[in-house]
Structures are given as C-alpha cells and as structure tokens.
C-alpha cells in the first residue's frame, strides 16, 4: 500500500476505494500490530494482519513494545487496543 503511494504517478489514480472508505479523511482508524520500535524518534514500524506495514507516530500512546496492538489514524497511533485485554 505504502509503496504505491510513494510513487507519485499513483496520485493520478482515483483516491478512494468506495467499498472500504478512506482511512485518513474520515474518522476512521485501523488496528495495527507493532513490529519494531524506534524509541529515539518516537516511531514504530507497524503491520496489519495481512502483513502490510507502515511507519507510525507513537508519541500519544508511548511507550510501545513489539506485539502491542494500536489504533492508527493518519499515521498516528491514537489509542491502544491491548488495554482491554490486560483488564480482561
């Protein structure tokens, strides 16, 4: 997904897939798993269950560790999803 976006030519493609919605423009967030953490820069490499990965800002939910599950909106983790599990 990210590689496609990085290619400027892809910006000519219609932007949004109407069946799944645009993850950034709406109030939509997706659950991702932390794969690797760059504590110094406040970033983490996160992946969805299909293996698609992206770099995520983790400042709002720090500290994070590999295996944590985060709710990500526009490249920023806005909430943790593992807390409910911890409380269960």
């Amino acid at each position: 997904m990210k590689r496609l976006i990085a290619d400027a030519a892809s910006a000519l493609t219609p932007a949004c897939d109407y069946t799944t919605g645009c993850i950034t423009c709406g109030d939509v967030a997706i659950p991702l798993n932390v794969v690797r953490v760059d504590d110094e820069r406040g970033l983490a490499l996160c992946a969805d269950d299909d293996g698609n990965s992206e770099t995520v800002e983790t400042d709002l939910v720090a500290p994070v560790a590999p295996g944590d599950r985060l709710l990500v909106h526009a490249g920023t983790a806005i909430a943790r999803l593992d807390e409910e599990e911890a409380h269960a």
């Binding site: 109407y18 645009c22 993850i23 950034t24 709406g26 109030d27 490249g75 909430a79």
Partner: protein, 371 residues
Amino acid sequence: MKYVDEFRDPALGEVLAGEILSLVEPGRHYKFMEVCGGHTHSIYKYGIDDLLPANVELVHGPGCPVCVIPMGRVDDAIALAHEPDVIFTCFGDMLRVPGSSGTLLDAKAEGADIRMVYSPLDALRIAKVNPERPVIFFAIGFETTAPSTALTLRRAKTEGVPNFFCMCNHVTIVPPLRALLDSPDLRLDGFIGPGHVSTVVGVRPFEFIPREYGKPIAVAGFEPLDVLHAIHMILTQLKQGRCEAENQYARVVPWEGNPRALQIMSEVFELRPHFEWRGMGFISQSGLKLSEAYADMDAEIQYSVPGIRIADPKACQCGEVLKGVIKPWECKVFGSGCTPEHPIGTCMVSSEGACAAYYNYGRFAREREVV
C-alpha cells in the same frame, strides 16, 4: 480479526435489534443524528437502517471533514499548488473536491506537482527527499487528525526541515454541533457521538448536549454492533427518562480523552476567530490555524493565498444534507447531475460523505421504500 469480528456478529445484531424494537414506543417518531461520517459509512455498508424499527430515523451530521470544506479553500489550495517549485501534498479525498474552477486533480493535470499522501508523516518524508523544493501539506480533519498534523509539524521543527509548510484546515467538532442545535429547523431526539474524535477529546466536551439542550448522546465505535448498541443506549435513556452523555466505545475512548494529544494540539494550533463551513456559513472558533511558534511553517503566511469566498453551487443542497434537514436522495441533483464520478457537492466526494455513502450502499434500500 480481534476487536473487529466480535463486533460484526450477526446473531448478536439480531438480539440487539430485537431489544431496540422493545424499547421504542409505538406512535412516537425517533430522530437520531450520527455526527460522524464514519458512522454514516457503517450504517449503509452493514444495512443497519434495515435492522431498525420504521419509527427510528437516522440523519447524517456534519462529521466528514472533506464535506464541510468550502469552495474558496479548495481554490486557495489550487493557488498554492501552482506556486513555483511547490510540491503540494494532501489526502486522497481532497483531490476530487471541486473548487470554483476545477479540482486539485485538474490542477495536477495542468502541471502542478500534487501528490497524495496517507499521513502528514508521508508529506514530511517527501520534504526530506526534496530539500530544494517547498512541500506544502494540506491539513484537514477534526480532532482525530489534528494531533497527527501537530506531531509532524513538531517533528519537522526539531529535525530541521525548513522546506515543510502546512495549509491548515483543521476543524473542531463542538462549535458546529452547537450551531446545529441552535438551528430552528432541526428536531432531534439524540446523538450518536463521534468515536475516534473522542479518543482525543474524550466524552466530556459533549456533556453540554444533554445539559444545555436536553438531548442524550452516546459516543460510539464504528462496527455494526457498536452503532446498534449506541442506539440501544440512547433509546434506554429516553425510556427511563434519563438524559446523559454515555460512552459506548469505552474500549478505546477514555472519558477525559488523550492528554498528550490535547497538549501537542494546544502547542501547535490556535483557534481561528471563525471558519467557513460548507452549507453552514461562518462558525466562530470552529477552525484551527498554526500558532505563532509555528508561523514560519504556515503556508497561508509564507505564501499569498487568494482567500476569496465562493458561494456553493446553486443546485447543490449539501448544506441541508450536512444539517440533516434533507436526506441525500432528496437533493435535486443526487444521482443525476451529482455522482461519485462527477461530484457537484462535497458530500458526494468523500467516501465518508453522506451522499457518497448513500449512493454506494443506500439507494437500493430507498428503492425498496419507494416500492
């Protein structure tokens, strides 16, 4: 997928729908507004409308940030994109929003370097690999997205990226809700509150709705059972004579929001005295601009933007749709002059827009109603 599948269980949905049926009083008409475009999308995608009793009506609110952007701001964005050497970056939905003389996609076809990004961080990355060119990020969204922009601007400052600029169009959710509640032509019985905005601001900012306007609100998640559960909560309040702000999405939303997100927002942004909303006019203190500490990264200060106010197209009734006064299909141009492929109004552009959602999922339901 964990946290998703269990909230899409059809059997539980049936149970909830049954309980909702038992909560409604026959002969009373209930009208609830889903504030957020994400909820509109879920309602149509999963056919939640079909599970509700006929006397429970859902109306769409102003919660799609793309839909509320006025034409003049699109024109300003296009003007910035045409500035020499500029790389203009924005989210995908914005590319297709019509200004008074075309879209950003049209401007790209004319030669402007406009690139779609999935996050502000992507835009910053483009700025880093093109240090000789100014990169402008078109920031848009409610409080869900604003912290993301704020974090990226702070990162650009601390990492020293002098060619990164921001055209800020962030908006806040409470002022338009207040404007709606003050509007005389609107009768509502309750609100389904925005889920992900609330991860940032919390539930507390919505307490004024029951307190000052006497309407219950339940902040809700986006899976079908979340939305049904929120409707169940609101109906239960009405039946028991309560009127409160409740949190259906407690697995993600803290009552007080995310203090770190609120802190970074207050560092990077300040409130504009007023901001124009499509179809709703100017609403005071409803938009954000960059604070003085970040003025050197504010594209509106560093470049001259036309800032001309353009009236909405006459045929378009996005304003009434955004206020929940009419249903998307009641607009004169819905599905004929205005389609997702050739939108006239913004509500048809973004997938979170009420008209686009209705066009893609809801029109069959309407056909059933008509028959």
